[in-house]
Amino acid sequence: MSDLSGTWTLVRFIGHRDRVRLFVWIASIVVLVTVTVPSIKALFPTQDDLDKAAIASAGNDGVIVFNGPVQGLDTVGGQVAFQVGTATLVLVALMSLFMVTRCTRAEEESGRTELLRATPLGRHAEIGAALVVAASMNLLVGGLVVAVLIGQRLPAGGSLVFGASSVALGMFFVAVALTTAQVTENTSVASGLACAVLGAAFMLRALGDVGDGRLSWLSPIGWSQKTRPFAGDQWWPLLVPLVFIVVFLYLARTLSARRDIGAGLVQSRSGPARASRNLGSPLGLAVRLGRGTAATWVAAMFIIGLAFGSVANAISGFVGNSQGMKEFIARMGGTTLVDAYLGTAVFMLAIIAAFYGVQSVQGLRSEERLLHAEQLLSTRTSRPAWVGGHVVVALVGSVLVLLAAGLGAALPYAILTQDAGQVPRIVGAMLVYLPAVWLLVGLAVALFGLLPQAMGAAWAAMAAFFVVGFFGELLKVPAWVNDLSPFQQTPHLPAAPLTVLPLVVIVLLGVALLSIGILAFGRRDLG
């Protein structure tokens, strides 16, 4: 019996079980690249616009940190690679490492692997299946991206290099995640380690790209960008990730063959024998369960905020004074270009932050499904108290996440303009979206109480607001659809003036939804 027997059966099983997940990952990355090309073409219609943009970016460290090395920016292809290249690479890496961890360590931690290994399934079948699935995803993303780029009349050579460098980075993180999955018993630590490698890769190339580019050679993302898509098209830098992929795959295979099922190289730490004083109420438990997620979101939103904020000062250099820009400014409230940009940035950050609110309410449903709620509600904990604990965490967490995003956006701008007054101005603009975020929390709680099976609807609403907010112009969404979004109804500070009435309405709606949810949960069966 070979070590890999049964791999194909597992591949088909994963493909079926995760079909939605596979589709969403692949589609969102491909769509992101697809919509970037026409928006670049619209933003820089003439060669003159491209040349101006290239000059504006060349010396702007804030832009380079998040977009990558300055290469070929006076071409449409070069701009596409610059604007969306780093984001694509990061997404492909995340897709690869989460998928691999999900198919390996998560299965093992849940005990399902044990069930499978007792069947005539090879020792390496699970690793093999994870490798096949993740590699197929990467090849599919790469292939589709190449097709989309060539389809939009970009040079075939650059498109191929761009696609290949994304596949190379994806496969590098497949191999890394397969290795980290062997190291620890804990699924979130396994994916966390791989994420840390990604974070380091991002930092190294950011420092390298701002400097003379040498440090970028230490970064896997750097290797993929050294291929210079649409700006010279070099294939040989991809030999570096190829070597590392082989090394990590060999390492993962060796570690997997040596260790016991369920075990890792690193033993998990034990916890306290007694609970701290805080862990004794529904709220205390909700805080304990939710603090990790909140901290991750706060950190992530601060970084995303930095990305938006560091570009603000240079924005006029990019876009010049075209007619399209004047219309954009007018729509945002008719002040300056920088304020219009900040208004948009704050608006987008708020929509992203609202995902946190929905996600933390989703925690209620998983607590119920995992039968934790059953144990808690058979004590003298009342149903409103239990739901309330999680709601408080979601509401307060939203404040922290918005604050972090606001500070992230405000600090670089305030430093670059040497104007400390920008901090309260931008953070304040961010917090104006708090009612909208809370409304989403309320919607999720209402669904949890009334139709727990349909909690996905909150995510769907969130995704719709996101798409309308980000790509509404591009997709030519009718105005009335746009107006349904509470984020659209919120005044877009700092570009637009503060009006209180819409905020009051949104808060009242949110309170109503929350109350409906809590009341309805008190009346339904648990399960």
């Binding site: 916890g271 144990q375 069966d525 399960g527």
Partner: protein, 315 residues
């Protein structure tokens, strides 16, 4: 004696499945009451209704003289519960879960908690995700037993415990009983029920099919007899209540209902009884008799349509 738990005609449906179909249950205060039945019989659903986690569609239910749905929070101060499937929070240690549940219940006795940890040989510092099934069960048991609640509701609490720990558990339940507290113990381990319970209710397909003290139930059961006589015994087959009769010359084996034991013995004695072997009626025998046909049907049903306990157990 006052009733700690009483239900009449309890009905609960999930979609098209009737999980409880007119269930009657009476648990007297201070007694250990066994709830017996195979997977999918409705034990867990019954308990969830008693805890106010599910709302019954029809029927009356009273728990500690209150309504478990409307007065859930007040009643929960007075009871402790061990679920059949214990899922712990992966990030919390066993000790943290015990303290959390105890504090939420409001009457955690730390000395008793530490004593129970020792008796059950449970390491409280391990994280939830690293416990085995048996150890997860122990966490929930320690949390429940460390409270002074007047009613304990235990849903298959020993599934996953080794025999040694099972005997520790039985000691604990006897202590609880001595303190005059009430226990509702759902189980499918018959030996455990026989050892611990004052009264037993056997349920099947959401209905109570037998209920009574062990002595009463034994009375309903049959005794297995095998005997050797000097002459071949005649007349046994004519007795009502004698089944599975096998005559092999002077050796005979048969099952007999308790109230026909005396005439059966008389026949054996009349034919020159030389040796006698009698197996006392066990609850297992009664259980199997109640379930014989039913389980055979369930088995084929489950094989074609998936596990029957999904309908009541999980959702």
């Amino acid at each position: 004696m006052a009733e700690a738990i009483s239900t009449r005609g309890l009905v609960k449906t999930f979609g098209s499945v009737r999980a409880l179909d007119g269930l009657d249950l009476g648990v007297a205060t201070g007694q250990v009451h066994g709830l017996l039945g195979p997977n999918g019989a409705g034990k867990t659903t019954t308990i969830r209704v008693l805890l106010g986690l599910l709302h019954a569609d029809a029927g009356e239910v009273s728990l500690l003289a209150g309504d478990p749905w409307r007065e859930a929070v007040i009643l929960h101060r007075r009871l402790a519960y061990v679920p059949g499937e214990v899922n712990l929070w992966p990030k919390l240690s066993g000790g943290e879960v015990i303290d959390l549940l105890g504090r939420l219940r409001g009457d955690l006795d730390y000395r008793r908690r530490d004593e129970l940890l020792e008796r059950f040989e449970l390491d409280p510092t391990k994280k939830g995700r690293t416990y085995s099934k048996g150890n997860r069960q122990k966490v929930a048991l320690v949390a429940a037993l460390a409270s002074g609640a007047e009613l304990l509701i235990l849903d298959e609490p020993t599934s996953g415990l080794d025999p040694l720990m099972e005997s520790v558990f039985q000691d604990c339940i006897r202590e609880v009983k001595q303190q005059g507290r009430t226990v509702l113990l759902s189980s499918h381990i018959l030996a455990e029920v026989e050892r611990l319970c004052d009264k037993v209710s056997i349920i099947r397909a959401g209905r109570t099919v037998q209920s009574g003290t062990l002595a009463e139930l034994r009375h309903l059961a049959r005794t297995s007899i095998s005997a050797t006589t000097t002459q071949a015994p005649t007349g046994l087959s004519a007795l009502p209540g004698v089944t599975d009769l096998v005559l092999d010359g002077q050796r005979v084996t048969f099952d007999v209902e308790t109230d026909q034991l005396e005439p059966a013995m008389r026949i054996l004695v009349e034919h020159g009884l030389r040796s006698l072997n009698s197996a006392p009626p066990s609850i297992e025998e009664l259980f199997l008799r109640e379930y014989g046909d039913f389980m055979a049907k369930e088995a084929t049903h489950a094989a074609t349509e998936g596990s029957a306990n999904m309908t009541t157990g999980q959702q």
